[in-house]
Symmetry: C2
Subunit: 515 residues, 2 copies
């Protein structure tokens, strides 16, 4: 068996059974091996940003990595933005980058480039397999490294000759998987002491703490201690809805976050970094921890956050039934003109049990979270690293991971245009994704930011660089061009109907909402 087949078999043995791929010549032996059993399922994406965003969405839902297949440095470059988001989400990804044959590198052929330099900023682990005999072991290491904890992008570079040459070793057994470290009792004790101080306190949850077990324990502790329960601004995969304790997500704009944290004397971090401003602004703070506030770390990324919260609740003598789950409740079905309010109500009124929401709604989707707070329980995936163009790919990967669950993609128009090719993969794979394009014909966030950074408003030439009209983008045409049925809705009633059809029917659909 050649190196490529040893790799494919090793991946499957380690539980990596999907490979999002955009291959080129140097990856042909990998591709040729896909018909062998066992091999991961190959999912073709027409652009590498779709590959990497789908791998992110897949792992956030599946809880285990997918593989990617990218073509040399430029293919990696095309996938870099969503790998950046995955890095921030601590998503496990086995990021396979095909390379020239080792002996070919010195000829500096046109596609030769410094893959390591491009990969390192997004990779928690990096290795190039110098020989076919190394490939399987390297792949087993890559899978284990990607899983952490915490998870990371593990980049495995696969030279073409390591792929096509005979592997004497064959496949490699999975490496033992590390488990999340238990938080020491004295750390829990120290946090409990701060919470018992009577001073104003807040728990800030991120990462794995935002799943139901962590949320229940955190809610018990917070209620018992009279502390606020906050969530990070951009969760990896937030479990929410009726029956799950809700967190108040920290605001995107620093003024909002500062207001939420105002007066807090003890801020307890749980699998999350200390809050900082997303961007810098003239004369505004970067560090959002209020003056006089002590920051305590209950659990660092890679530690057992839910276990630590459970221990904290116990130490605080919080009653077992002391959590405050969100009450069930949906908004009425809206009627009348489309607006941010009726959009939010339409989603709140229809979101099905077990839905996965891939949220890149940006400015147009701000009211949707409140309107869905009491909907049946669902998962909420967001843009973790600020590199726009993740919504459609993330929804694609989530739907591959959970084919029986409805996926709702809330997608701002400007961001949609970065990785629109994801729609084609949704059509090919028949994925249950309902995409709602929130079309305001503008990089609306930048119009806000233009003022916030202190720049004067700019003249017509500046505003034209933030404007997406002239020409308007016809998302229904774009969707149909990639095989996804689409309709533009003109009223809240039509939107409700389109959402219900989208959730009920198999396969992808796209709904354009002009706001």
């Amino acid at each position: 068996m050649n190196g490529a087949r040893a790799l494919l078999s090793t991946l499957v043995g380690a539980g990596v059974d999907v490979c999002f791929a955009n291959p080129g010549t140097s990856e042909m032996h990998f591709v040729a091996g896909l018909d062998d059993v066992p091999s991961p399922r190959g999912v073709l994406c027409l652009f590498e940003g779709v590959v990497t965003g789908a791998a992110d969405g897949y792992a956030r839902v599946a809880g285990r990595p997918a593989a990617t297949l990218l073509h040399l440095g430029p293919g990696l470059g095309n996938g870099l933005a969503n790998l950046h988001n995955a890095r921030r989400a601590r998503t496990p990804i086995v990021n396979i980058v095909g390379d020239h044959a080792t002996y070919h590198a010195r000829y500096d052929a046109p596609l030769e480039s410094d893959i390591a330099s491009i990969a390192r900023p997004v990779s928690g682990w990096y290795r190039s397999s110098a020989r076919a005999d190394d490939v399987a072991g390297d792949a087993a290491d890559a899978v284990a490294a990607s899983m952490g904890p915490p998870g990371c992008v593990a980049t495995l570079v696969l030279p073409a000759d390591s792929s096509w040459s005979e592997s004497a070793t064959g496949p490699c057994a999975p490496r033992p998987q590390a488990r999340a470290a238990t938080v020491p009792a004295d750390t829990v004790e120290e946090v409990a002491k701060a919470l018992r101080s009577g001073e104003r306190a807040a728990l800030l949850l991120g990462g794995s703490a935002l799943r139901a077990p962590g949320l229940h324990a955190a809610s018990r502790a917070a209620v018992r201690a009279g502390a606020a329960l906050l969530g990070e601004t951009f969760p990896v995969n937030l479990e929410r809805g009726a029956g799950i304790p809700a967190v108040e997500r920290l605001g995107y704009f620093s003024e909002m976050a500062q207001a939420q944290l105002d007066g807090v004397r003890h801020l307890v971090l749980v699998d999350v970094k200390s809050p900082v401003s997303f961007f810098a602004y003239p004369g505004k703070a970067s560090d959002l921890v209020p003056p006089g506030c002590t920051v305590h770390t209950l659990a660092r990324p890679g530690e057992d956050a839910a276990g630590a919260l459970e221990a904290l609740a116990e130490v605080l003598d919080a009653p077992a039934e002391g959590a405050e789950p969100a009450a069930a409740g949906r908004p009425d079905r809206p009627a009348g003109p489309l607006s941010a309010e009726t959009l939010a109500a339409a989603i709140g009124a229809t979101l099905p049990e077990g839905a996965i929401v891939a949220d890149e709604g940006n400015t147009s989707g701000l009211l949707v979270a409140a309107a869905t707070a009491g909907a049946p329980r669902h998962d909420w995936l967001t843009l973790t690293g600020g590199a726009i163009g993740i919504g459609l790919p993330m929804a694609t990967g989530a739907a591959v991971a959970a084919p029986d669950r409805p996926v709702l993609c809330l997608q701002a128009d400007g961001s949609a245009m970065y990785t629109l090719q994801a729609l084609w993969t949704q059509a090919r794979e028949g994925l249950n994704v309902t995409t709602v394009i929130l079309s305001n014909r503008s990089y609306a966030i930048l119009n806000i930011e233009l003022h916030r950074v202190g720049a004067d408003a700019g003249g017509p030439l500046a505003r034209r660089l933030l404007d997406l009209s002239d020409p308007d983008i016809g998302f229904c045409d774009l969707a149909r061009g990639m095989g996804v049925p689409a309709r533009q809705v003109e009223s809240a009633e039509e939107l409700v109907g389109a959402l219900e059809s989208g959730f009920a029917e198999a396969g992808p659909t796209l709904i354009e909402v002009r706001l």
Copy 2:
């Protein structure tokens, strides 16, 4: 004036009067400055791969750099593939990457990343402006560095505070521009001696040698010496057509190139690297120089190639009228079904005087070069670095550089899907681009490569990763969704008519040709 305005003014002063942009928050002061006079013209692109590919196409035609405007590491990542192509083309680009404020970096905010590591593989020059007072001088250095010669991508990182803070220096005057070095007389003499040896010889031209002056001089020398006249496989901007001496481009597949070079004892390189195989294949050579052949370098990149060829012709006593210009001649207007042959004939029959061809036609366009050899003189731009997704952006940039010339974009379907967003910019700017989508519903090159690398043919799962049907891509829908009028043609006659309309009418159009 702030750093951003000092930068904009410096750019214009140095002749950089177009900026292809996809800005974010950290670039808002730059954007706000665009209404000041003087400032470059801002051209909005909806994805960074369009920004960088357009900057490449612009400079190949204008002969001077455009600026880009990208948003931090992820925005740079999205633009990396076409910067890779620009690096291989030695295209001058002033690649401006906005960054967080300098003091914000240590907070590791979500969009923080190692921009230098991402940029270096494509950048011939790199600098981050640490203070507002540095920005203008750094920009002047960047423009000069980008121009070389040889040209390069000069990456200037612009932290937000360097942009918004007051610049005490104001704009900076342009740096003196270096000129291409003259090739020493003894180098010319040595090449002349080899050409006079009576042994089989070939001139291989690349880069700047493929413009009319170099081609005329090379043709004189080659005719006089009885040498073959070859051109690099993927020219930056090849001038060709009636009245211009033709070169035979070296084949993409190594077997083809080896056949062309078979028996050559003296290979003379003129602004080009020694020929190597694009990819490595089991058991096939990487170095394509035939055994027993001596390689001579007449002009290196950055040297005056046309001048060296002129000197060579003189030393060889080649007659002033000794060049062999291509004869005028067009194929007849084709009729009947669409095929690779009738496609090529339709283009050959209609290509207007002064056209610019942005060629990413790949496998479907192989016959077009022969069919246009005697067409009125025109420019031919190709994919220099192998990173697909350059055709539509390159055509966009070329049309911005030469608004009065017709631009023909020959675009393979698979590659089109990487940077399709370029169509929107063509519509907004009313650019005279006629795009012909060569749709074969396949990564056809990879089906060939699958066999060439020695992989067995692969089963249905492998072939499905190279197949672009299921669903078919509707390029007319995609174009209309971005405001570009489009039609699918069903016969050679229809194609001829559509091409003639496209060339004659103002603004962009797209023609889908299913092969």
